[in-house]
């Protein structure tokens, strides 16, 4: 009796184990298969969005190639290196597009924030999110213009206490039924501006308009690492 029970449990356990292994393998394989294609479509989508928030009149360099790699930072919400796009007009720094992550949405919300050199926001866009359709998805520019509410905001014209949704006493709109989503985004954009204020000179130091590329990038990387060390 005991023996057959043990046998049955063993059968059940190995059955579960087998399906767990097969499923994991299938998932891993699909992930590997699709990763690159997905990354490419996200990048393509991002470039389209960058064109929307960094007006062509504000820069005359090749903004897609004048890039800086930013190390992971709490203020950006990132846990991996991200790319910032730098715009210059007649050699003078004019606009920076940085990637920020809002970690406290339903899932991570990926944003790009375009900031004029003086620290005012030119525009914000959501690159990817998993908010509830019909409730939290008004953050997409395709669905509503809510996200344009950030245009023109800066650390100077809004106090720290005003960087909140109206429900919490701040100055940013939200829609009934979904407050967590805008709250997360307002917080992430606020932090991204703080990051910009702290690191502005490094962002634009990457090189003269003509010299972008590896050496300039690694110089910034070096500078950034020093900053990180100092913080510690």
């Amino acid at each position: 009796m005991r023996r057959t029970m043990a046998k049955a449990s063993f059968y059940t356990a190995s059955n579960l184990l087998f399906f767990a292994l097969v499923s994991t393998a299938l998932l891993a394989w699909t992930y590997e298969l699709t990763r690159e294609t997905i990354q490419q479509s996200i990048e393509r989508e991002k470039l389209k969005l960058i064109a929307q928030i960094a007006p062509p009149a504000t820069y005359d360099n090749d903004i897609m190639k004048d890039t800086v790699q930013l190390a992971a930072d709490d203020l950006l919400g990132s846990d991996d290196t991200t790319i910032a796009y730098i715009g210059r007009l007649e050699g003078q720094p004019s606009i920076a597009v940085i990637h920020a992550v809002a970690p406290d949405g339903y899932a991570r919300i990926n944003l790009i924030v375009a900031v004029h050199h003086d620290g005012t926001i030119s525009g914000v866009r959501v690159v990817s999110h998993k908010e509830t359709p019909g409730l939290g998805d008004y953050i997409e520019i395709a669905r509503s213009d809510w996200i344009t509410g950030f245009n023109g905001a800066s650390l100077e014209n809004r106090k720290s206490s005003e960087w909140k949704v109206k429900k919490d006493g701040g100055t940013f709109d939200y829609r009934a039924g979904a407050t967590i989503t805008p709250r997360a985004i307002v917080k992430a954009v606020h932090k991204a501006l703080q990051y910009y204020a702290r690191h502005r000179d490094e962002l634009f130091a990457a090189g003269s308009p003509s010299s972008s590329g590896e050496s300039a990038q690694s110089a910034v990387e070096g500078a950034k690492q020093e900053v990180v060390k100092e913080k510690k």
């Binding site: 049955a8 059968y11 059940t12 356990a13 059955n15 579960l16 399906f19 767990a20 499923s23 299938l26 998932l27 699909t30 992930y31 298969l33 699709t34 294609t37 997905i38 479509s41 999110h129 998993k130 908010e131 509830t132 359709p133 019909g134 409730l135 998805d137 395709a142 669905r143 009934a176 039924g177």
Partner: protein, 234 residues
């Protein structure tokens, strides 16, 4: 399979055992989303796709799995399936993914999929299970679209708003303004509106059933409030 069996599967899926207004399974995410026709249709079609695939998968492996471990294995299968569908769509059908993509993860939480795996696919062949998935999915889609339509008219005064996001800029002219200069009615858009509307749909279906029954059995015939129902729902 005989024609009769196939007909029964579709009759069950689309009317008698309809997932939306009879079985009432896993409705919370669906109700939250059905605030417009386009959203409702998108979610309905995504669910139909997943339920058909999961039914087929469960029917294919039902002979090999241990009875005690079947539920965790179904859950595992459904979760993997949904994730794989999401990844493949994201990679190879990006335009479609932008429309349906956010709906797909919601489907994992929908227990209608697990209910069909347990109550139908685990006892029937691959072909019948696939058909059952399609029928159940379409039944749910129909309810969602009606629900979405009613909520959209009362909530925003329009029909088919957002269709340009699904089918391209050219279809923007399809949007119908049912009530011009409508100020909007928030209750219809929020989840309570969904529950109230759904309740009325269920009442309407029961009324139709009762009327049909009285025609056959005379004026004193009655029906149980929710006819049918699904054993796994209790």
């Amino acid at each position: 399979m005989t024609i009769r069996e196939i007909r029964d599967i579709f009759y069950n899926g689309l009317w008698k055992q309809d997932a939306g207004i009879v079985q009432l399974l896993g409705l919370c995410p669906l109700l939250a989303v059905s605030s417009s026709v386009v959203n409702a249709l998108s979610l309905g079609l995504a669910t139909t796709l997943v339920i058909t695939l999961s039914n087929t998968g469960v029917a294919a492996i039902r002979e090999f799995i241990s009875n005690e471990a079947r539920i965790p294995i179904y859950i595992l299968m459904i979760a993997v399936l949904v994730t794989v569908v999401q990844l493949l769509m994201n990679a190879y059908m990006y335009a479609l993914y932008l429309v349906l993509g956010i709906f797909i993860p919601l489907i994992v939480t929908n227990c209608i999929i697990l209910a069909r795996a347990e109550s139908f696919a685990s006892k029937n062949g691959i072909f019948a299970s696939a058909l059952d998935g399609i029928a159940m999915g379409l039944g749910l889609t129909a309810v969602l679209v009606v629900l979405g339509g009613i909520r959209e008219i009362f909530g925003q005064g329009t029909l088919l708003s957002g269709i340009d996001l699904a089918l391209g800029e050219a279809t923007k002219s399809w949007i119908i303004t049912v009530i011009p200069d409508y100020r909007g009615f928030l209750l219809a858009i929020l989840p309570p509106g969904a529950f109230i509307t759904l309740g009325m749909l269920i009442a309407a279906k029961n009324w139709l059933n009762l009327r049909a029954k009285r025609k056959v059995h005379g004026e004193n015939a009655t029906i149980t409030p929710i006819e049918g129902g699904c054993s796994t729902a209790h």
